[in-house]
């Protein structure tokens, strides 16, 4: 065996390979956003809140499947069916958790880049303001979809396995394969716009989350008071109510959203959909305008 060693000069070498285009660059920003929100490649304390909320959202689903396993064969299927939350009900079960998840995630995606001046680096790379913002929105959409879908998938597959006829259960509930994601998108659409808009102007993540939570709660109270005392259309200010109305419409389940200001004031789901689209459009416009000035 030769005992001769070699010293390699690890000098700079130019990258001569092919360059990726903007779609790949956008995808890199999406992946970075997902890692930020979930605290991946960050210190342990940055993982506590997101993963705590994920576990909280999963626990009821696991409990439901466990309950079904435990009660299987008791011969009280019809009685138990009423006790077990449906897929549309489950959006309600984790509604507050989803709301908090969005409240914490949106600032994480926008505030540090702006406050730490990382936007300068983005601005010096071959991408546009719209690329950056779209990728950040896509990152939030991905994590919110995963957050709301995972427990639903557990219930869906759990039900299929426990039914004793896996294929039959799946084929009999094919409509859920679009209804569940559509419900998750409705939740995202009603919450993300305002959360991003507040995050675009805040210098602290915690403050942005707090302002968003406060704004949403106050808007619901104001909507209820003004709808009752001034005009029923003020019910449209109940931001969270829109998600419930839309989920009820998607699942054809009128019980969802019962008691909300929007339902009590007979606001049609179509109007709710237009209101959500308008809020999202307004938020997108303001966000773009804001970032055009600072990036």
């Amino acid at each position: 065996m030769s005992s001769e060693g070699a010293i390699f000069d690890l000098d700079y070498r130019r990258y001569e390979g092919e360059r990726t285009g903007r779609p790949k660059i956008r995808w890199a920003i999406v992946r970075d956003g997902v890692r930020k929100v979930l605290g991946l490649r960050r210190k342990a304390r940055r993982k506590i809140l997101p993963w705590g909320l994920i576990i909280l959202a999963m626990l009821p689903a696991i409990a439901i499947v466990g309950f079904q396993v435990f009660t299987q064969g008791l011969g009280a299927d019809e009685l138990l069916e009423d006790l077990i939350p449906s897929h549309s009900d489950y959006f309600g079960v984790i509604f507050v958790m989803t709301f908090l998840f969005v409240a914490l995630s949106a600032p994480e995606l926008l505030v540090p880049d702006r406050v730490s001046n990382v936007l300068t680096v983005y601005a010096s790379r071959p991408l546009t303001v719209a690329d950056y913002l779209l990728a950040r929105v896509a990152a939030l959409l991905l994590v919110v979809l995963a957050y709301t879908l995972l427990p639903q998938v557990v219930i869906y597959l759990g039900g299929a396995v426990l039914s004793g006829d896996f294929v039959g259960h799946i084929s009999g509930n094919l409509d859920l394969l679009w209804k569940i994601p559509a419900g998750a998108i409705a939740v995202f659409a009603t919450q993300a716009g305002v959360a991003f808009m507040i995050s675009a102007f805040s210098r602290r993540r915690g403050a942005a989350a707090g302002i968003y939570i406060g704004f949403t709660i106050i808007s619901a109270i104001v909507a209820a008071v003004l709808a009752e005392t001034v005009n029923r259309w003020f019910a449209l200010l109940d931001l969270q109510g829109h998600a419930q109305i839309l989920i009820g419409e998607i699942f054809s389940d009128p019980e969802v959203g019962e008691g909300s200001t929007l339902v009590e004031n007979n606001i049609p789901p179509g109007v709710s959909l237009i209101a959500v689209a308008a809020i999202a459009g307004l938020a997108a416009g303001l966000l773009y305008r804001r970032y055009r000035r600072i990036m």
């Binding site: 390979g17 730490s116 071959p126």
Partner: protein
């Protein structure tokens, strides 16, 4: 001049009442270019306009023949930028961040990690690359900023005050790194208000003052001088009179004279003056012009 890599024509930029750049016409070749000027001279503004990050009030710029105003993304795909201030997420490791910026520069994800590691080693952060950027010292941050500027192999790197805030050793290391960038086939625009740093690293100088272009030429042209410097032992009055009678321009400071002669040899004129007046000579030589001399003279002239 070889094909210019940077061209500006009638460039003007104002921020409200403040005129940051005034009628800047430039043609700059590849190489190591020093962008010199006092704070507020318009250096950072010019760099941002070259990247298409700022739109000029009037005029235009081209980088490698591509308009930075009309095709900023095409320009940015060939240019790296090191901003003056911090630009880091403090909770991310240097390796993660530089790798990410490589992807933002158009490198595939599979290549970015390896490139980040190599470039961080090059800038002297091999040991620290897994530490969070928020824990870095000023010198380490400057190196990490340089790493993110070059990780995607740009043809041109714009460095905005890369040595600011560094101690003497850190400054030395940074200047050596900048010198090496040229060896790696990258052109460098290095903005600084420290003229000595530019003299040590650059072969072309763009000098700005209050937004106006003072000089745009090779460093050696700027440093070239016809003046002769003489230090005398005695009262220089008689020698100065003799030289002026021969048509020389003479600047006197104590017993030091700077002599320029449009026609004829200044050395022979000085020899004659000393022989005629009997004044003793301490030293004699061609005057070394520094960037500081030029900058101060230009500032005085334009001010």
């Amino acid at each position: 001049m070889a094909d210019p890599i940077i061209t500006t024509a009638g460039l003007n930029m104002s921020f409200g009442e403040v005129q940051a750049l005034q009628d800047v016409d430039l043609e700059v070749p590849a190489g190591r270019i020093g962008l010199v000027g006092a704070n507020g001279a318009g250096k950072s503004t010019l760099l941002k306009i070259l990247l298409g990050m700022l739109a000029p009030s009037s005029g235009g710029t081209e980088v490698y023949g591509t308009s930075a105003q009309h095709h900023p993304l095409a320009v940015r795909s060939r240019v790296g930028y090191m901003p003056e201030g911090d630009c880091f997420p403090p909770d991310q490791s240097a390796a993660d961040f530089v790798s990410y910026t490589a992807e933002l520069g158009g490198l595939p994800a599979s290549e970015s990690r390896q490139r980040a590691s190599e470039v961080l080693t090059l800038v002297g952060l091999a040991e620290e690359r897994f530490r969070n950027l928020g824990e870095f010292s000023t010198g380490m941050k400057q190196r990490a900023k340089l790493a993110q500027a070059i990780v995607h192999s740009p043809d041109l790197v714009l460095l905005d005050e890369p040595a600011s805030g560094l101690d003497p050793d850190g400054r030395e290391d940074m200047l050596n790194l900048i010198n090496r960038l040229g060896d790696f086939g990258m052109s460098v625009v290095f903005s600084s208000h420290v003229l000595g740093d530019i003299e040590r690293t650059c072969d072309w100088v763009v000098m700005l003052n209050e937004g106006r272009l003072l000089r745009n030429e090779p460093l050696e042209t700027i440093r070239a001088s016809n003046a002769v410097q003489v230090v005398l032992l005695d009262d220089p009055t008689a020698a100065v009179e003799f030289l002026r009678s021969r048509g020389a321009r003479v600047t006197v400071q104590d017993r030091t004279l700077e002599i320029e002669l449009d026609e004829g040899d200044a050395f022979i004129a000085i020899r004659d003056a000393l022989a005629e007046t009997g004044v003793g000579l301490r030293s004699l030589g061609a005057k070394q012009t520094t960037l500081e001399d030029v900058y101060l003279a230009e500032e005085e002239y334009s001010g």
